[in-house]
């Protein structure tokens, strides 16, 4: 019980910074779709405060309202007092989950799947099999996306000279003694194996001789976001241990890198783990950051017209806005689309929970991609990439979607 109050009190401490002005209503992508009070940050923060003040009782409906949040941090960026509504929602979901008697079956299933390395591998295998058999289109809501591979990209856009050309020498900005490791996120492993292989190659290219191989665990964002905080803590501890003997940990999933970088925040009250968590967080590098710091130059600039969908966890989550664009400008003919940093509606399992709203957000995104005239929309997060592939499918071949590692 003390723990539960503690979770709610944590949410309330942050939410109390809310001045109830309403600035968030102008930027929240969900409020634009459903303009009622509980959609935007003001309404959500005040739910936490209403609960803390005893004005409201915990209810499924309230949990639904807390789940109706993309955790995209657009409100945080635009808030005069920078209230971290995403943190409030994570804590509120945890509190309500505990109060209402545990995690619902759907999230529990997802949590169990991603907690186990074996199950992630099995799913990856099953999805590969489905793609191989060409039956992945039967999976609901694009959960088994067909990947547009680097090979197809090269054959479509690269001149023959590029194929098989030696990698350009790279003036490495990473310390020559750095022990570098790749963090293979679950989404990348299960849904986008070609992209993950490209990332692995890029990491290896800039860590010659010092590449450490680690069989990592899930970053735990799914668990954290859906009231399974204990699982998150357990996974984080395992990852901290697994990567003890590395200096740099590179991940090609914006949600993983953003979650892992913030690990220490969840060990504030644990003196035993606090410092280790801090040290771990400092090692994390998103792949775009890693490649820019390593001075990566793509093998050759292709004629492909590229645009970038900026994952929430990359731009707002880590302030990495210049890096991916810099890399893409070197890789092809880069065009910035309108609203590049607006959430695509993927947001972990949001697109499963609220398919209609998610589809509407994605339709807007697709319009913007089409208007940019790009042939390829590039992104750096498997949830976003799955959404982008849905958009590509709906655009009837006007563009394809790829992971950034595949075009560099």
């Amino acid at each position: 019980m003390a723990d539960r109050l503690n979770t709610l009190e944590k949410a309330a401490v942050i939410a109390r910074e809310c001045d109830r002005c309403g600035n968030c209503t102008t930027v929240c992508p969900l409020y634009a779709e459903k303009d009622i009070e509980s959609s935007a940050a003001r309404g959500k923060n005040n739910l936490a405060l209403g609960l803390a003040a005893g004005m409201l009782e915990p209810s499924r409906r309230m949990l639904d309202a807390a789940n109706f949040c993309l955790l995209c941090r657009t409100c945080v960026d635009n808030c005069p007092t920078k209230v971290e509504t995403d943190e409030v929602m994570i804590a509120l979901r945890q509190h309500l989950t505990d109060e209402l008697g545990g995690v619902t079956l759907k999230y529990k299933g997802l949590g169990i799947l991603m907690k186990s390395r074996t199950l992630v591998r099995l799913s990856a295998f099953a999805m590969a099999l489905m793609r191989g058999l060409g039956v992945n289109g039967l999976a609901p809501r694009g959960l088994v996306p067909s990947e547009y591979t680097r090979r197809r990209f090269l054959s479509a856009y690269a001149g023959p000279a590029l194929l098989g050309a030696p990698a350009a020498p790279s003036p490495s900005a990473i310390d020559s003694s750095s022990r570098v490791a790749y963090f293979n996120g679950c989404g990348m492993q299960m849904m986008f194996p070609d992209a993950a292989a490209c990332s692995r190659r890029l990491v290896a290219q800039h860590a010659p001789g010092k590449l450490v191989s680690v069989d990592n665990r899930c970053c735990g964002l799914v668990h954290l976001a859906h009231g399974m905080r204990n699982d998150f803590i357990a996974l984080a501890k395992e990852n901290i241990r697994l990567y003890e003997n590395t200096d740099i940990i590179v991940t090609d999933c914006a949600s993983c890198s953003s979650t892992l970088k913030h690990t220490a925040r969840y060990f504030d009250d644990d003196p035993q783990w606090r410092e280790r968590a801090q040290a771990f967080g400092k090692k994390i590098m998103d792949i775009t950051e890693f490649l820019v710091k390593s001075g990566h130059t793509p093998q050759r600039k292709t004629g492909a017209r590229l645009t970038f969908h900026e994952p929430c966890h990359l731009g707002r989550g880590q302030g990495l806005r210049k890096e991916p664009r810099e890399l893409l400008k070197a890789a092809g003919e880069y065009v910035e689309m309108k609203g590049a940093d607006t959430c695509c509606g993927g947001s972990g399992s949001f697109h499963l929970d609220f398919p209609e709203v998610s589809d509407r957000l994605l339709d807007k995104k697709r319009d913007n991609i089409e208007q940019s005239g790009a042939a390829i929309v590039v992104t750096e997060c498997p949830a976003c990439l799955a959404q982008m592939q849905k958009a590509a499918r709906d655009s009837n071949g006007r563009f394809v979607a790829m992971h950034i590692s595949q075009v560099l």
Partner: protein
């Protein structure tokens, strides 16, 4: 309580998706942007979201028949509790009525629904080279209907006036559901009472505004922003006063004390010279860049005479936006400095501004509260924010005395309780003192004539006795 049968009738008017009555929704529509604490009694029974005038009219007929309270609201960005449904009943959310109905370029007028956001209206007109000047600090998210209800002001009032100066006509649904139109596009119009201006600033107590006709002016061709820093508030006020006296009328002249701008600096990671005690932000506009430069030079010379420490003229739109972001973020940033903030909105004759600021300093020392002061020095409207912790019994016991003394200071120099936020519920206890008993009687007579059952936003503006109900 509203019966299930009435709810069903309301649903058939607006459609089942646009009536909300879950506990979390009722709670979500029980507060606004004021410091009024949450209360069970402030939860509406239902939230109804009409799409057009006909629906509003049908809702009012039903509500009037059953004597159900109706409190209109836009985005609830008000600072005085004006849109809080303290008598329960229906919270009438007008955000779906957010369209431009007509932009009449030849007459330079625009007709708009009450739920449109002020900034969207501004942008829509600006695309055609037309200018809607009133810009309350909340213009990004406040609605034009709310601006009408509170007669919102803003930064540009010193040169361009406030909302009421632009309202040419209204469509209003009265308490019994009948629909009237006031005013019109004729610039001269003296047929009948000036009902338009009666509804402007009436805080939703006399009718529901469903359509608004606004006049526009040509967009100034050039605009720039200056930021002036001073060693004290006296010099800052003196600069603005000297400017206005010498015939320089800036589009906006905002002042803020050290406590205020430090609150924003905290969030924007700015380093500010500790010798600076006051900051003035000025917007200048005119026909050409040349004209602007001449104005800027004269302002700079005036500021130098008043010992300005720093003078910055924006070199780009981005820099200009940056300077304004400081001012626009003020209210919320100051609010975040203490558990409770009582943000006031007194307005005084322009030349009394420095005197009132001095008086507020004395009140701050007397009661031991930090009082952040910022506001529209150009038009005499200032926002003292009393920072306190209501969980501390000592604070709770004396904060209202401090506020009352601030009001007294304003009234003593011929000023008023509220310049632009309205009275709502937070300033209700002081209206009798500000207006006098006979004036309150006149208010009540008007209310009685237009809303005999007292269903429109009950309990606002003046203290209601038991007989009037809440």
């Amino acid at each position: 309580m509203i019966s299930e049968e009435i709810k069903q009738q309301l649903r058939s008017i607006v459609g089942p998706d646009h009536l909300l009555d879950s506990d979390i929704d009722r709670f979500g529509y029980s507060y606004d942007s004021s410091f009024v604490p949450f209360a069970e009694a402030n939860k509406p029974d239902v939230i109804v979201r009409p799409a057009d005038t006909a629906q509003v009219s049908a809702i009012m007929k039903l509500a009037n028949h059953h004597a159900i309270p109706v409190t209109a609201r836009g985005t609830a960005s008000g600072r005085t509790g004006g849109s809080i449904p303290i008598a329960g009943g229906i919270a009438l959310s007008l955000t779906r009525m957010d369209k431009i109905i007509e932009l009449d370029e030849r007459n330079m007028m625009v007709t708009v629904g009450p739920g449109m956001r002020t900034m969207d209206l501004y942008n829509h007109c600006a695309e055609k080279g037309l200018f809607y000047p009133p810009d309350p600090a909340s213009w990004k998210y406040s609605t034009i209907g709310g601006n009408i209800a509170e007669n919102a002001g803003g930064m540009r009032a010193v040169k361009y006036g406030v909302t009421s100066n632009y309202v040419m006509g209204l469509e209003v649904v009265l308490a019994d559901g009948s629909v009237i139109r006031t005013g019109g596009k004729a610039i001269k119009n003296v047929t009948g009472y000036n009902l338009t201006q009666l509804f402007v600033g009436s805080e939703g107590t006399l009718g529901i505004v469903t359509e608004i006709l606004l006049k526009l002016i040509p967009m100034p061709k050039a605009r720039n922003t200056m930021q002036l820093m001073f060693p004290d508030m006296e010099q800052a006020c003196g600069t603005i006063h000297s400017m206005l006296q010498s015939g320089i009328v800036p589009a906006a002249a905002e002042i803020m004390d050290q406590t205020s701008f430090q609150a924003v600096a905290r969030h924007r990671k700015l380093d500010i010279n500790p010798a600076i005690q006051a900051c003035v932000i000025i917007e200048i506009d005119g026909d050409s860049q040349d004209a602007l430069q001449r104005q800027a030079a004269r302002i700079e010379a005036t500021a130098r005479r008043h010992n300005a420490i720093e003078i910055r003229t924006a070199a780009s739109q981005a820099e200009s936006d940056d300077i304004w972001a400081i001012r626009r973020g003020l209210s919320s940033a100051v609010g975040g400095m203490a558990p409770n903030r009582f943000g006031e909105d007194i307005s005084v004759p322009r030349d009394a501004f420095p005197q009132v600021v001095r008086r507020i300093r004395e009140i701050s020392e007397k009661y031991g509260f930090t009082i952040a002061v910022y506001g529209h020095a150009g038009d005499g409207n200032l926002h003292p924010s009393v920072l306190c912790d209501m969980a501390n019994p000592e604070h709770a016991a004396k904060v209202h005395h401090a506020i009352e003394e601030i009001f007294d200071a304003a009234l003593a120099v011929g000023g008023t309780l509220s310049g632009e936020h309205g009275i709502g519920i937070t300033k209700r206890p002081y209206t009798a003192k500000a207006l006098g008993a006979a004036s309150i009687q006149a208010h009540k007579a008007i209310k009685q004539a237009l809303d005999p059952k007292g269903i429109l936003n009950p309990g606002k503006i003046w203290e209601h006795d038991a007989r009037e109900g809440q």
